[in-house]
């Protein structure tokens, strides 16, 4: 009986202490490594594979040296638009013009572990820098020929990505572009255009534009893309009774949203819920050439996909991650500068 009473007091199966907060990494934790700026790492890559002339597209570089980069998180995948990427911005440089950002190819839900403003350290040794159509990123070696590198797996992340302190976002973290300065600030036609790629950029006073572009692939905007096919307002109807007339492609100008999900006919099942990337065009006015024209490209998984693109001609301030999509390996004629929104609230109508 005594034993019975004795063990009745046992009840520790579910008493757990709260784990201590994670270690906050600082430069001191990487004393044995060479801390390089993101600018220097980008330069290292583009010295080996010059950016100009698109010679770097598809190239990769494995880092064998014990190099560490650090930067403040400027992207958020919370809205599910930015996918498996984390953009970090390094402005711990003596000259503001040397501030640079780079894409880390990670997992989903990065905002949970690295909210905007978090300082992140990346041990590059063993990782691979790769240029995918003009955008440099940090990843692991890819086994697929069409990718210069791949996303880090969970184990890779544990080994290479370290979380530092939580910092406040400042004005200096955002590059501001206007109709007057976009050519110089965004370093068009220079050999180091890559320096601004991946940065958080605020485009002030840019206008939404519906219609056919005269640059790049001369696409009609807005358009929607899935399964290797692009659909614009000239595309045939989707043969699916679930899609009402007003949501057919030919009526895009009436419903244009940042992205879309449509039930596409699929063998075997009655429908397949198919996400479409959406492309919206914003311009500073000169629609005949690439500079000053930007495509806000939005994932069909984005939570704000059903938000409407500002109507044709609407003037907005727009803050987004600035990226490049090189359309051709041989020349820049089909390039497009694409913008990835962290959240739809970063598009603000100004008139």
């Amino acid at each position: 009986m005594a034993a019975f009473v004795g063990f009745a007091a046992v009840g520790c199966y579910n008493d757990f202490d709260m784990p201590a907060p994670a270690h906050v990494y600082t430069d001191a934790d990487f004393a044995d490594a060479r801390i390089m700026s993101i600018k220097e790492v980008k330069e290292m890559f583009y010295t080996a594979y010059p950016f100009a002339g698109h010679g770097a597209v598809g190239k990769s570089m494995k880092i064998d040296e014990n190099i560490v980069i650090r930067g403040k998180v400027i992207s958020s995948d919370r809205a599910n638009n930015i996918y498996k990427s984390l953009y970090i911005f390094d402005n711990e440089v003596s000259d503001a013009s040397d501030a640079a950002a780079i894409e880390l190819k990670l997992n989903t839900g990065n905002y949970i572990f690295w909210p905007v403003g978090t300082r992140v350290y990346v041990k590059l040794q063993g990782l691979v820098l790769g240029d995918y159509r003009g955008m440099l990123s940090v990843g692991i070696a890819s086994q697929q020929s069409n990718y210069a590198n791949n996303s880090l797996t969970g184990i890779d992340i544990d080994r290479h990505v370290f979380t530092g302190e939580q910092l406040a976002m400042t004005q200096a973290d955002t590059l501001v572009v206007t109709a007057d300065n976009y050519r110089s600030v965004l370093r068009y036609d220079t050999n180091d255009t890559y320096m601004v790629l991946g940065r958080l950029v605020r485009f002030e006073g840019v206008r939404s534009k519906f219609g056919k572009a005269q640059w790049g692939y001369q696409n009609t905007f807005p358009n929607y893309f899935a399964n290797s096919t692009s659909y614009d307002k000239n595309s045939p109807d989707i043969l699916n009774e679930n899609i009402p007339d007003e949501l057919q492609w030919r009526n895009i100008d009436q419903w244009a949203t940042y992205a879309a999900v449509r039930d596409m006919p699929t063998q075997g099942v009655a429908f397949k819920s198919t996400p479409f990337y959406g492309s919206a065009w914003f311009t500073y006015g000169d629609i005949s050439q690439i500079p000053g024209n930007y495509v806000v490209r939005t994932s069909g998984y984005a939570r704000f996909r059903e938000h409407k693109i500002p109507a044709d001609g609407t003037k907005v301030d727009l803050t987004a991650i600035y990226t490049l999509y090189t359309g051709s390996y041989s020349d820049g004629g089909r390039d497009a500068y694409q913008l990835a929104l962290n959240r739809v609230e970063d598009v603000v109508e100004v008139e």
Partner: protein, 920 residues
């Protein structure tokens, strides 16, 4: 056993003088040890089926019986049943002393034996053997206990086909139909008195179904008087059990009472992260007002917390290096923590009234209430990568499919070395992520505080179950008997989830994350509780203990009335009767769900079903040794609540094609009882028609969460059972049992697959699985055993068991036209996917030893030790299931799919169970 029967036969051959002119039988029942008088021994006389109960002096008496040959059966808890033949003339025959032998020191099953099998897809309760009771039938005794190691189901039936009663009230779960053993789990002593019928035989308390009936009698006057205490050391389910029980017997003032307490603690030797923290309590009191009226009150409960094991894919087992890997746990601050914990406490209170109207008629009234909490915890998360360690993307095979050998190698090495505890949950990391959740967007919506991304939720099925039963029996002058009753059941089960642990965060937002992802047009779609949202402008900020995700009642109201007529003439005996009843099922949503604002709150349409049973039991006894019997039943029953609604978490919609289920069962047996030689051979044939099942899963082809509702599922079970028990020499006996069955799906059911978010039909058609095997139980099982009982109370046994024809539980999805067609897979690939996996045959060797000592003819001290799987075979699969999801493969040029690997359970290696007991 043999010695005992010789003694009895010798005694019964001696006849003594008559005391009266009418025929009768009198005697005294004593225990072999110390010749102590045994009260409350039930003595049944056949033909005539008169019963008597021995009094405090052990005496019993039958009077006014015609001359002839009778069989007397003696039954008492913890004693071997005994049957003797008595010839009666026109006087009362005194057979003097009848000696009962204590039952073998064999452990009585409790549900914990099966508790390690814990999955959501293959529900563990469903996999319980259908016969847990220590039956007196020579076959069922072996099948229910010795085959339990292999999750053997007698005749392949699921547990809902076994009727389990307590004191005349049927307690099978009102919502699932499953047997309710967990309600009194660990209270073995208090629930030891059981009236068991097997197969199609009707019971004293009801018509019964096809899987036998067990009525547990908890009346304290029926329990063996005295105190007993036992301590168990084991390594299979728990490490330690202690139990103490006391029964007063009838006091002079007509009161009797009994109580029992038990506790089970600890884990086992094979699976990490599992444990028992379980208690049991039982109290019963009974008052005999006079010879005719008795009233009793019983309260019992088994507050149980236990960490569960999850099945895993073979790849994970191989990487870890054993078949007992449990993905459910991880370290938190260096201490093992299991995410999946069952925590239930459902007290049962019951009142019984018995009115013995006359020696031939009686009425029993009973009412019961079950209430309390029944939770099962799980880790849940709002966003980000799946934290489960064995998620398919974290296993090397995923990277092989992705043609990434480098990562495959990295993960292989990491799993082998358990690099950074990759095999387990990373609780610390999840806490630390929650510490960081102070997103301005959340603060704008919900105010200050950390919004947890990871929590432990606890999914509840909390029952309020009220029962009433009134049974009567009357024996006519010709010794035929009519018995019957009415029963009412009203059940309201609340299904909800609640926050169990915020894991370092400060609140959980009560939104539907799947709807939030898929239905982005309006924030209302993602609301679990729209009305709260409309009042406050945001979802509820749930703290620990608050309800989240879903909240609804399952309502069940059932009535039934039954009547059996039992007669016998000569050696022929028949028991015929039937039951009619009704079942009403409806759902009552407590929240208005954003996805289905007009079909989620309030009452659904009431589904009404007419139920009935027609049953006949017929037997013919050629002599005291040979008998045959045949039984038949046809019954129509209502579907279970969980099959009746297509997505009860979200809405009131009934399952397409829902209807009553029909069961036809026929069996026939030959029984032999020649001295101590016992044997039975039976054949059975059962069809179950028009059952319904709903599965909810993420469909990778349609890329959406769906509900897959099947109707018109038919099953066919037939087979042969044989068992024998033969004394060999001086206490040494041979026992054996064989179960040869074939359990198949007998139709290609219709299915309708709907999108969970919108109720739209994704696909519909047929599931092609006719003639495929019914899963769960080995369809061939063989036992060969030797047992020895010395006259010094030593008991030894050794058993060899063999199993074959066990099949993996199938996912119906792979067997439809809709699936896996997109990439134009070859017929061979499709055939491979649709093939049903058969497990290899297996055998085990088990042994037990026990001994007890009588101290001063008053106390009993004893032990029993059972060792199972002595050959320590750790590769015996006892069950498993196909996963519903399929994975896209990059290995071929066109898109192709392959099923996720199946998950398996394995029998433990060598285990022991040592029980030390004391009683007086």
């Amino acid at each position: 056993m043999k010695l005992k029967n010789l003694l009895i036969l010798a005694l019964s051959l001696v006849s003594f003088a008559a005391y009266a002119q009418e025929g009768g039988i009198r005697g005294r029942v004593v225990s072999r040890a110390g010749r102590v008088a045994l009260d409350n021994v039930k003595v049944t006389m056949t033909p005539g089926d008169a019963t008597a109960v021995s009094d405090a002096q052990g005496d019993f008496l039958f009077e006014n019986i015609p001359a002839g040959e009778y069989a007397l059966t003696f039954e008492a808890a913890e004693f071997e049943p005994l049957e003797i033949a008595v010839r009666v003339d026109r006087m009362v025959r005194d057979i003097n002393t009848v000696v009962l032998v204590p039952a073998a020191p064999q452990q009585v099953l409790d549900d914990s034996i099966f508790a390690e099998f814990d999955t959501e897809s293959a529900d563990d309760a469903q996999a319980l053997p259908t016969s847990l009771s220590a039956s007196k039938d020579v076959f069922n005794n072996i099948a229910s206990y010795k085959f339990s190691e292999m999750r053997f189901n007698v005749r392949g039936y699921d547990s809902q086909y076994q009727d389990v009663y307590m004191n005349g009230i049927q307690l099978n779960d009102a919502v699932t139909g499953y047997t309710p053993w967990s309600l009194w789990s660990g209270l073995n002593d208090a629930t030891r008195n059981q009236e068991v019928t097997s197969g199609l035989q009707a019971a004293e308390v009801g018509v019964g179904g096809i899987g036998g009936t067990t009525n547990i009698v908890t009346s304290p006057s029926q329990m063996r008087k005295g105190l007993r205490a036992s301590v168990v050391s084991a390594n299979q389910m728990y490490r330690f059990r202690a139990m103490v029980t006391y029964a007063s017997g009838y006091q002079d003032n007509g009161w009797a009472y009994a109580f029992s307490f038990s506790s089970r603690q600890g884990g086992n030797s094979y699976v990490d992260g599992v444990y028992y923290n379980a208690y049991g309590y039982f109290a019963a009191v009974e008052k005999r007002f006079n010879d005719r009226h008795r009233l009793s009150l019983t309260l019992l409960g088994a507050p149980t917390e236990r960490g569960a094991q999850q099945a895993a894919v073979q790849e994970a087992y191989d990487l870890v290096g054993n078949n007992y890997y449990n993905p459910n746990w991880g370290y938190q601050n260096g201490k093992k923590r299991n995410a999946r914990v069952r925590d239930n406490h459902e007290p049962l209170v019951m009142m019984n009234y018995t009115f013995d109207i006359s020696d031939r008629s009686k009425i029993d009234l009973a009412t019961s209430l079950r209430f309390g909490k029944n939770g099962y915890s799980a880790l849940t998360w709002q966003n980000g990568p799946d934290p489960r360690p064995d998620y398919y993307r974290y296993l090397p095979s995923f990277f092989v499919l992705k043609q990434d050998p480098m990562s495959a190698g990295l993960y292989y090495d990491a799993w082998r070395a358990n690099y950074m505890n990759i095999r387990h949950f990373d609780w610390d990391e999840m806490y630390r992520a929650n510490y960081r959740q102070t997103d301005p967007e959340d603060e704008a919506t919900y105010g200050p505080g950390r919004r947890s991304n990871y929590i432990v939720e606890e999914r509840h099925t909390d029952q309020l179950d009220w029962n009433f039963a009134a049974n009567f029996s009357h024996m006519f002058r010709n010794n035929s008997r009519l018995h019957g009753g009415v029963a009412l059941r009203r059940n309201r089960t609340e299904y909800y989830s609640e926050v169990k642990d915020l894991m370092g965060g400060q609140y959980w937002a009560n939104v539907d994350k799947f709807a939030e992802r898929d239905m982005v047009s309006s924030p209302i779609s993602a609301q679990n509780d729209v009305e709260y949202y409309l009042r406050h402008g945001h979802a509820y900020k749930a703290r620990t203990g608050d309800k989240i995700n879903y909240d609804y009642y399952a309502h069940v109201f059932r009535t039934r009335g039954w009547l059996m007529y039992e007669m016998s003439f000569g050696g022929f005996r028949a028991n015929v009767g039937g039951e009619v009843g009704s079942a009403a099922l409806w759902r009552e949503g407590l929240w208005r769900k954003g996805l289905f604002p007009y079909n989620s709150k309030g009452n659904s349409d009431v589904q009404k079903y007419f139920t009935y049973k027609v049953k006949g039991n017929f037997s013919y006894r050629f002599s005291g040794s040979h008998a045959i019997e045949a039984n038949v039943i046809y019954m129509q029953d209502a579907p279970e609540f969980q099959s009746a609604f297509v997505s009860p978490r979200t809405r009131n919609t009934a399952t397409p094609g829902i209807g009553t289920e029909q069961v036809l069962g026929i069996d026939a047996s030959y029984n032999l009882r020649l001295g101590d030689v016992k044997a039975r051979v039976s054949g059975y044939y059962t069809t179950m028609k028009n059952t319904t099942k709903v599965i909810s899963y993420y469909d990778d082809v349609a890329a959406t969460f769906t509900n897959f509702a099947m109707s018109g599922i038919d099953k066919l079970h037939f087979g042969l059972e044989a068992a024998v028990s033969v004394p060999i020499y001086r206490g040494l006996s041979f026992n054996g049992a064989l179960s040869l069955g074939q359990y198949t799906y007998d139709s290609d059911p219709d299915y309708v697959q709907t999108q969970d978010n919108s109720a739209r039909i994704v696909s519909e058609g047929k599931v092609y699985w006719k003639n495929f095997r019914v899963e769960s139980s080995p369809q061939t099982a063989l036992n060969l055993g030797l047992s020895f009982r010395s006259n010094k109370n030593l008991f030894l046994s050794v058993d060899w068991n063999y199993y074959n024809n066990q099949y993996l539980s199938m996912s119906p999805i792979y067997r439809t036209d809709a699936v896996i067609d997109e990439g134009g897979m070859s017929m061979e690939d499709l055939a491979n996917i649709r093939r049903q996996e058969k497990f290899g045959s297996a055998y085990t060797l088990n042994a037990s030893i026990g001994k007890n000592w009588y101290v001063q003819r008053k106390y009993t001290l004893g032990f029993s030790l059972e060792v199972k799987n002595i050959l320590n075979d750790q590769d015996i699969r006892t069950g498993g299931y196909e996963q519903t999801r399929i994975a896209e493969s990059d290995l071929t040029s066109s898109t192709s799919y392959q099923p996720f690997d199946s998950k398996y359970f394995y029998m433990f290696g060598t285990t022991y169970y040592l029980n030390l007991y004391f009683r007086f």
